[in-house]
C-alpha cells in the first residue's frame, strides 16, 4: 500500500495555475523527491498535501485513507508532518520546548489537569521532554536544548524543524528544502539525518534544490515544471531523461548530477 497518493491536484492563484493536475504515488518507507525550477509549484504542492490550501480537483490519500478535505491539524493527528521552506520556528520558546510542541498529538491531559498541574501532567511533561531530547539528539542539537530558539543559527533552525516534526512520530514526513542555505558539510549531515529517518520506517517526501543531495538519497524523483508533471522515475532515469535535462537541469546541472554519484 502506498503511504501517500495525490491525484489530479490543482490550484490557481489569480488566474495562474500554480499546480495543474499533478498525480503521484509514494510507496511506504522510501524517499520521494519533488524537484523543479523556482516557481514550479513545489511548495504549493506541499501546502495542498498538508491541508494548508485546498485543491480544486482530485484528492489526497494517506496510507489508503481519503484525507482530501481534512484540516492540517487532523492530518497531523493521522501521521503527516512537515517542515517549512521559510522556517516557522516558535521563537519565544526554548529549543526543547519547540520539539515538545511536536509531541502535542501524543499528549493526553485535559485542561483542568493542566491548570492544577496534577501528577499526571508532571509525569507526562517528563515523558514529553525525554522524547523531545531524543529527537534533538537525532538531529545533533542535543546540546542546544535549553537555549532560546531565536538564538540558533539558520542551519540549526532547519534541523530544529526536522526534530520538531520527527517528535510527532509521523508516518509521512514532508521536508521543504531542508538543505537550503547549508554548506556542503551541513548538507551531508542533513543527508545522514534523512537516511536515519527512512531507516526508522518513516516515508520522506523531499523538496530540495541541492541536486547532489536529491540524487543521493532519493528512491524516486518527481519533476515539476510550471505546475505540471514533467517526469517521474529513479535518480538514474531522471538524470538521463532528455526532457528533464533540457527543461530543468541544463547541461551543467546534468554533469553535476552525474558527478555526484560517480
Amino acid at each position: 500500500m502506498s503511504a501517500l497518493s495525490a491525484e489530479r491536484l490543482s490550484v490557481a492563484f489569480g488566474g495562474v495555475r500554480a499546480v495543474d493536475g499533478v498525480s503521484f504515488d509514494v510507496a511506504a518507507g522510501i524517499v520521494f523527491s519533488i524537484i523543479g525550477p523556482n516557481g514550479a509549484g513545489k511548495t504549493t504542492l506541499f501546502n495542498l498535501i498538508s491541508g494548508l490550501c485546498r485543491s480544486h480537483d482530485g484528492g489526497v490519500w494517506l496510507c489508503g485513507e481519503d484525507v482530501t478535505a481534512l484540516a492540517p491539524e487532523d492530518l497531523a493527528r493521522r501521521g503527516l508532518s512537515r517542515t517549512f521552506q521559510n522556517l516557522q520556528i516558535f521563537s519565544h520558546l526554548t529549543v526543547i520546548e519547540n520539539v515538545m510542541v511536536g509531541r502535542h498529538r501524543h499528549e493526553a491531559t485535559g485542561i483542568l489537569a493542566d491548570l492544577l498541574h496534577l501528577p499526571a501532567v508532571a509525569r507526562q511533561n517528563r515523558g514529553t521532554r525525554k522524547a523531545a531530547a531524543e529527537a534533538l539528539g537525532r538531529v545533533g542539537l542535543g546540546d542546544a536544548a535549553e537555549r532560546s530558539a531565536s538564538g540558533l543559527a539558520y542551519g540549526h533552525l532547519k534541523r530544529l524543524e526536522i526534530a520538531r516534526a520527527l517528535a510527532s512520530e509521523p508516518k509521512v514526513l514532508l521536508l521543504d528544502e531542508p538543505a537550503a542555505g547549508c554548506n556542503p558539510v551541513e548538507t551531508r549531515e542533513i543527508e545522514a539525518i534523512i537516511r536515519g529517518i527512512v531507516a526508522d520506517g518513516v516515508t520522506v517526501v523531499l523538496v530540495e534544490h541541492d541536486m547532489r543531495l536529491v540524487m543521493n538519497v532519493s528512491d524516486r524523483i518527481h519533476v515539476l515544471a510550471n505546475g505540471r508533471t514533467l517526469a517521474e522515475g529513479t535518480a538514474v532515469e531522471i538524470r538521463t531523461n532528455a526532457a528533464v535535462i533540457e527543461a530543468y537541469l541544463g547541461v551543467r546541472g546534468a554533469r553535476e548530477a552525474a558527478g555526484a554519484v560517480g
Partner: protein
C-alpha cells in the same frame, strides 16, 4: 416614508462625519500602519479651538482657520514626538501610544478650555428645511457639502500629485519606497498633518448640530475606527462607505429600535459583518506565505 427620510437625513449627516474621521484613520494607516486613536481628539481640538478663539473675540471664520492650523501642528507633533521614537514597535504598542496621546490631549483641553459643552452658530441659520415630509437642518447640508468637498480634494491630492503617489508607494511597500528615494518621514509626517486638519474641519462642521466638549473625541474615534473596519482597513472608499453606512445604521436603530441602543446596534452590525467577512466589506484577502 417621511419618517424614513428623516432617519436617512440624520444618518447621512452623522455618517459624513464618521467618514471624515475614518478617512483620517485611513490616511495615517496607509502611510504608517499606525491606527491613530487620537484621531477623535483632532476633531475635538478643531471644534473647541474655534469656540474659544471665538470667545476671545477672534472673528469665527479666522478662528476656524487658526484652530485647523493649530490642530495640524498638533498632528505633526504627535508624529514627531510619539510615533517616530517608537518605530519598529508592534501594532498593539502603537495603538496604546496613540491612546496615551488621546488621554494627554484630552487633559490639555480640560486645562486650556473647560469641561463644559459648547456650540457654534450654524453657517446658514437654523431654520429647518422641509423636504418630502421630513426636515433637514441647513447645517446638515453644510456638513455634507464640506465632507464631499474635502473628499474630492483629498482624492485629487492622492491621485494626481507626487505626494499622493509617494503615499501610495509607501502603502504598497515601505522598503521599496525608501529605496527609490522617497523620504518616508516627510510623507508620513504630512499624512499626520493632513489627517489632523481633516479631523479639525470635521469637528467645526458638526459642532452646530452635536455640540462639543473636551472628551467628545473618544466616541468619535471609536466610531471612525468601527467604520474603517466595516469598510476594510486601508481602503479609502471603504472608509467613506463604512462611515456613512454606520451613520445610517445608527439613525435607523435610534428611530426604529431604541435611542439608547443606537450605539449598540452599530457595533452589533459590525460584529456581524466581521463574522461573515473577516476582512471587512472592501478588505483584500491576504494569503499567508509559508
Amino acid at each position: 416614508m417621511a419618517e424614513f427620510l428623516q432617519f436617512v437625513f440624520s444618518g447621512i449627516t452623522v455618517g459624513a462625519i464618521y467618514a471624515l474621521v475614518a478617512i483620517g484613520f485611513t490616511l495615517i494607516y496607509n502611510a504608517s500602519d499606525v491606527v491613530n486613536f487620537a484621531q477623535g481628539e483632532f476633531v475635538m481640538l478643531g471644534a473647541m479651538g474655534t469656540v474659544f478663539l471665538g470667545h476671545a473675540g477672534v472673528p469665527l471664520l479666522l478662528a476656524g482657520v487658526v484652530a485647523v492650523l493649530i490642530t495640524t501642528v498638533v498632528g505633526l507633533a504627535l508624529y514627531r514626538w510619539a510615533i517616530v521614537p517608537a518605530r519598529e514597535a508592534d501594532a498593539v504598542t502603537l495603538i496604546i501610544i496613540t491612546i496615551g496621546a488621546s488621554i494627554f490631549l484630552r487633559g490639555v483641553a480640560e486645562v486650556v478650555f473647560d469641561k463644559g459643552f459648547h456650540s457654534l452658530p450654524a453657517l446658514l441659520g437654523s431654520n429647518p428645511i422641509r423636504l418630502g415630509g421630513a426636515t433637514i437642518l441647513p447645517q446638515s447640508l453644510v456638513v455634507l457639502a464640506g465632507a464631499f468637498f474635502i473628499m474630492v480634494l483629498l482624492w485629487a491630492f492622492i491621485d494626481r500629485t507626487l505626494f499622493g503617489k509617494a503615499v501610495r508607494a509607501i502603502a504598497a511597500n515601505r522598503v521599496a519606497a525608501r529605496l527609490v528615494g522617497i523620504n518616508t518621514r516627510i510623507v508620513v509626517g504630512a499624512s499626520f498633518a493632513l489627517s489632523a486638519a481633516i479631523g479639525a474641519i470635521a469637528g467645526i462642521l458638526i459642532t452646530p448640530i452635536t455640540l462639543t466638549s473636551y472628551n467628545g473625541g473618544t466616541l468619535l474615534a471609536l466610531k471612525g475606527f468601527a467604520a474603517i473596519m466595516l469598510g476594510g482597513i486601508g481602503s479609502a472608499v471603504g472608509a467613506v462607505v463604512g462611515g456613512i453606512l454606520l451613520g445610517l445604521l445608527e439613525a435607523f436603530a435610534a428611530g426604529y429600535v431604541s435611542a439608547s441602543y443606537k450605539d449598540a446596534v452599530g457595533f452589533l452590525v459590525i460584529l456581524a459583518v466581521l463574522f461573515v467577512m473577516p476582512r471587512g466589506l472592501f478588505g483584500k484577502a491576504t494569503v499567508e506565505r509559508v
